[in-house]
């Protein structure tokens, strides 16, 4: 290590009151993590292994182009188009590609459907596997120790952290993404929304409802 830092960010501490420290660009305030990344970028750029313009393009992609609005469009189309829904459940990778979403961390997609009797929830206990093409980058809680440890043994407890309680008799199914399949939950369409069009429905679909840690918004609310 060329530098020593003072700030170790805890993996399980997500209040993040102190995040602004990391954003400072003057030396004494830079965290060890920020210094490590800066040193890596400097050396790798000098040696020609990376191109800073390519880094900017990657960041822009996941900040502005590839995110959970993609998945929301998939869900809304499934709600309004029964033939599409059938294709989505039979071959999710192809059906999602019909809408133009394919590629990195979405190569092998599966869509799992919530029903009145079954609630699905997705985790990766071993790392951070997540369907990037339809949901973008995983939120920090998805990669955190509390979520990865508890989802498979106490998913109802995890759901309470999200303010959700399922009926005691409802089956809960947790999908641990241990291989190369990436999972998207197809949530149930909220009641009273049958008159809405696809775009209006997509606005009700939250990221968390497609992971299984939330529900779509009720009609008339804004995301």
């Amino acid at each position: 290590m060329p530098f020593s830092g003072h700030h170790v960010e805890m993996n399980h501490s997500h209040t993040h009151d102190d995040h602004h420290h990391d954003d400072h660009d003057h030396g004494s305030e830079l965290s060890e993590a920020a210094l490590r990344v800066r040193a890596l970028e400097t050396i790798l750029t000098e040696k020609g292994y990376i191109d800073p313009a390519a880094l900017d393009a990657i960041i822009e992609t996941y900040e502005t182009k590839v995110g959970p609005r993609n998945g929301a469009r998939v869900v809304a189309k499934a709600w309004t188009d029964p033939a599409y829904k059938a294709r989505l459940l039979a071959d999710a990778t192809s059906a999602i590609a019909e809408l133009g979403y394919s590629g990195r961390q979405g190569e092998h997609m599966r869509v799992v459907e919530n029903t009145p009797d079954l609630h699905n929830m997705v985790v990766c206990t071993l790392c951070s596997c997540y369907p990037w093409t339809v949901l973008g980058l995983p939120p920090v809680w998805y990669k955190s120790t509390p979520y990865r440890s508890r989802s498979v043994i106490d998913p109802r407890g995890v759901l309470k952290d999200f303010g959700i309680e399922l009926p005691a008799e409802m089956r809960i199914r947790v999908w641990d993404s241990t291989a190369e399949m990436r999972y998207l939950v197809l949530p149930m369409q909220p009641e009273g929304t049958s008159a809405l069009n696809e775009a209006q429905l997509a606005a009700l679909v939250t990221r968390d409802s497609m992971i299984g840690t939330g529900f779509p918004l009720a009609s008339g609310t804004a995301r």
């Binding site: 290590m1 060329p2 960010e9 993996n11 399980h12 997500h14 209040t15 954003d23 660009d25 965290s31 993590a33 920020a34 990344v37 800066r38 890596l40 970028e41 400097t42 050396i43 790798l44 000098e46 040696k47 292994y49 390519a54 880094l55 393009a57 990657i58 960041i59 900040e63 995110g67 394919s102 990195r104 979405g106 190569e107 092998h108 206990t125 071993l126 790392c127 093409t133 939120p139 920090v140 809680w141 955190s144 120790t145 509390p146 440890s149 989802s151 043994i153 952290d161 005691a168 008799e169 089956r171 809960i172 199914r173 947790v174 641990d176 241990t178 291989a179 399949m181 990221r207 840690t213």
Partner: protein
């Protein structure tokens, strides 16, 4: 390996703290960490499973006290040093001192970013032998504690489950992470009842579905 990455069933980490959808990064350096990791991966010097293995080899205390992008960058540094892309003295000095070595693929340019992300990396492969199991078969997972990379989590070892889907043939992470090639294997979705995994006090309405490779499984009569 039985590293700190294998978290399923552990307790005491506290509540999950949800965040709004608009929060993507928590610091500028996280953006660079993501992009540098992807750009270095694009050089083709190591498969993704090698990266996962190096991350899980971080000492448990370090793994559990590092944020996820910290884990990525710590592992990336180890890979760059072990592959000779960066020399130890360069890391000490914080600057380039030696010429670059040749890499399997050229440096990722801005123009190649969109096509690379859109293409992804398909992991499906032809498996030379027919699948041993079919949907509905009852299987038991191995009891094994390899010091090498595996995608069979500890909480699902020695457990009985039911095959609910044949996912297809895929590269085998246990081999790929260690320079043994793709070694394609059949991958199955296996359903385990919550009580099989966690005992009789567990919610009877819980099941866990895990994607498992054929070498992890034996048939239950």
């Amino acid at each position: 390996m039985n590293g700190a990455q294998d978290l399923g069933g552990m307790m005491g980490f506290g509540p999950v703290v949800p965040e709004p959808e608009s929060v993507i990064f928590h610091a500028e350096w996280e953006k660079r960490a993501l992009a540098i990791t992807l750009a270095c991966g694009a050089l083709g010097q190591w498969p993704g499973d090698r990266g996962r293995y190096v991350r899980e080899c971080l000492p448990p205390v370090e793994y559990l006290t590092s944020s996820y992008y910290e884990i990525w960058t710590k592992a990336l540094l180890k890979l760059l040093l072990s592959e000779g892309l960066i020399a130890p003295e360069e890391w000490q000095a914080g600057k380039a001192l030696t010429p670059a070595v040749s890499t399997k693929r050229p440096t990722l340019t801005e123009a190649r970013v969109a096509p690379m992300l859109a293409a992804g990396t398909p992991y499906n492969r032809e498996v030379p032998s027919p699948a041993l199991f079919k949907v509905g078969d009852r299987v038991r997972t191995l009891v094994a504690n390899p010091t090498t990379h595996t995608r069979l989590p500890r909480y699902a070892r020695g457990k009985i489950g039911t095959i609910v889907a044949l996912q297809g043939g895929f590269v085998f992470p246990d081999s790929l992470a260690h320079g043994k090639g793709d070694d394609p294997q059949w991958c199955y979705c296996v359903q385990f009842e919550g009580q099989e995994l966690w005992g009789p006090d567990t919610d009877p309405h819980l099941d866990v579905r895990i994607d498992l490779f054929e070498p992890y499984l034996v048939q239950v009569p």
